[in-house]
Structure formats: structure tokens, C-alpha cells
């Protein structure tokens, strides 16, 4: 079972560069999420999506953009990378948005901005 797949696993960016973190899930889940995890901190929600074509901001959306053209894919784009965006990024999905369902996390993408 693939579950939630993220690419790349590791990436080093220079300040001002842009990149896209890819996320794909094969569980036909409606809800998808992007979190970031800074050292010594818990995860914080960047963006989420309740279905294809529908996205909304989470707690820390500045500097990021998302799109959801299909149920399976939820890419996260970083524009004009800054050192403050050095973090571990996790994509996740759930069938619905309620806690009675389980949320499944990808293995993470380690991003360093220098």
C-alpha cells in the first residue's frame, strides 16, 4: 500500500529560488493537508483541501501556494524561498475532515534554504 507519497525527500534551495513539493495519495481521500514541522516544535497547518478544486489557508500560509486539480494530488509551491522556510514538510490525507476518521501522513520532505 502506497498511502501518502511525498517527493522529494530532501532538497537544498538557495534564497529566492522556487520549488514544488509533490504529494499524492492513493486512498481516494477527499481531505488533504500540508503541515510544516520546525525543530523542537509540533506540526503547524499550512494549507488544506476538502476536495478537488477547493483549497483554504491554515495557520501559517504565508510564502506558500497550493492547488488541487485532482483528488490524488496536492502540490505545495514555495515562492521566493527564505531561510525561515527551512523545515520538514508533511503531507497528509483523511477520508473526511472529522476526527472519527484517521489522518495518514507521508514520510516528510526535508527542506533547507541557504
Amino acid at each position: 500500500n502506497a498511502g501518502v507519497t511525498q517527493t522529494p525527500k530532501f532538497r537544498i534551495l538557495k534564497i529566492g529560488q522556487s520549488m514544488t513539493l509533490q504529494c499524492t495519495q492513493d486512498m481516494n481521500h477527499n481531505y488533504m493537508y500540508w503541515y510544516r514541522q520546525d525543530p523542537g516544535m509540533g506540526l503547524k497547518l499550512i494549507y488544506y483541501s476538502v476536495g478537488a478544486g477547493i483549497t483554504d489557508k491554515g495557520e501559517v500560509p504565508n510564502g506558500y501556494n497550493v492547488s488541487r486539480s485532482t483528488t490524488e494530488d496536492f502540490p505545495l509551491r514555495l515562492e521566493l524561498a527564505a531561510p525561515s522556510q527551512t523545515s520538514v514538510y508533511f503531507c497528509a490525507s483523511s477520508p473526511t475532515g472529522v476526527v472519527a476518521d484517521t489522518i495518514y501522513f507521508g514520510e516528510g520532505s526535508w527542506l533547507t534554504v541557504v
Binding site: Y33, G42, K44, Y48, V50, F90, V98, V99, I103
Partner: protein
Amino acid sequence: AQSVTQLDSQVPVFEEAPVELRCNYSSSVSVYLFWYVQYPNQGLQLLLKYLSGSTLVKGINGFEAEFNKSQTSFHLRKPSVHISDTAEYFCAVSDGGYGGSQGNLIFGKGTKLSVKP
């Protein structure tokens, strides 16, 4: 607003000893509580969750947690740990959902459990 406090950032313990990882929460509405485990260079995996009913919740890998409403706590316990339990553990609270209109999932800062032989 909800918040989660994990009282210990690091917990070293010897193999086969018992362990308790402490978690306190703050919420003005109904709470749903979670413990997640993160092994090195991996994503988060659900250990257990409290939604309603019995306050003692059993999870995977021999872990359990007790919901204490009066103390606003949800401590994680295991009677005998193994080397393979070495990981970071996150407590989280939700008011109904994982993000957006259904509610939000708020994480604590994590506790690193280090099991030594």
C-alpha cells in the same frame, strides 16, 4: 483557543523500565486527544486517540493513555519499553477536525523518548 503542553522535551529510560510521557491540554470546547509517534526520518503514525467513552485508551505497541478531564491531562504510558520505542512522541488536541470548518488539530512540541540498553 486550544493548546497542548508536553511537559518533558526529553525522557531517557532504560530498556524494560516503565515510562510515562506527560501531556496537558487547554480547551474551552469538547476535546479529542491523540498521541502520535515519529520514528527517525519518518512521518507521524497514530498511537491512539480518545474520542469518547472509556477514559483509558489502549493503542498500538503496548501503549495506553488516560483522559483525565479534571486535570486536563492525557498522559501516555507503557509498562515496559523496548529499544525500538526510541522515537519522538507528539500529543495533539482537536475540537472536532483536522483543519478548517470541522475543527483544528493542534500539536504539542514533542517528547523525545530515548531507550537505553
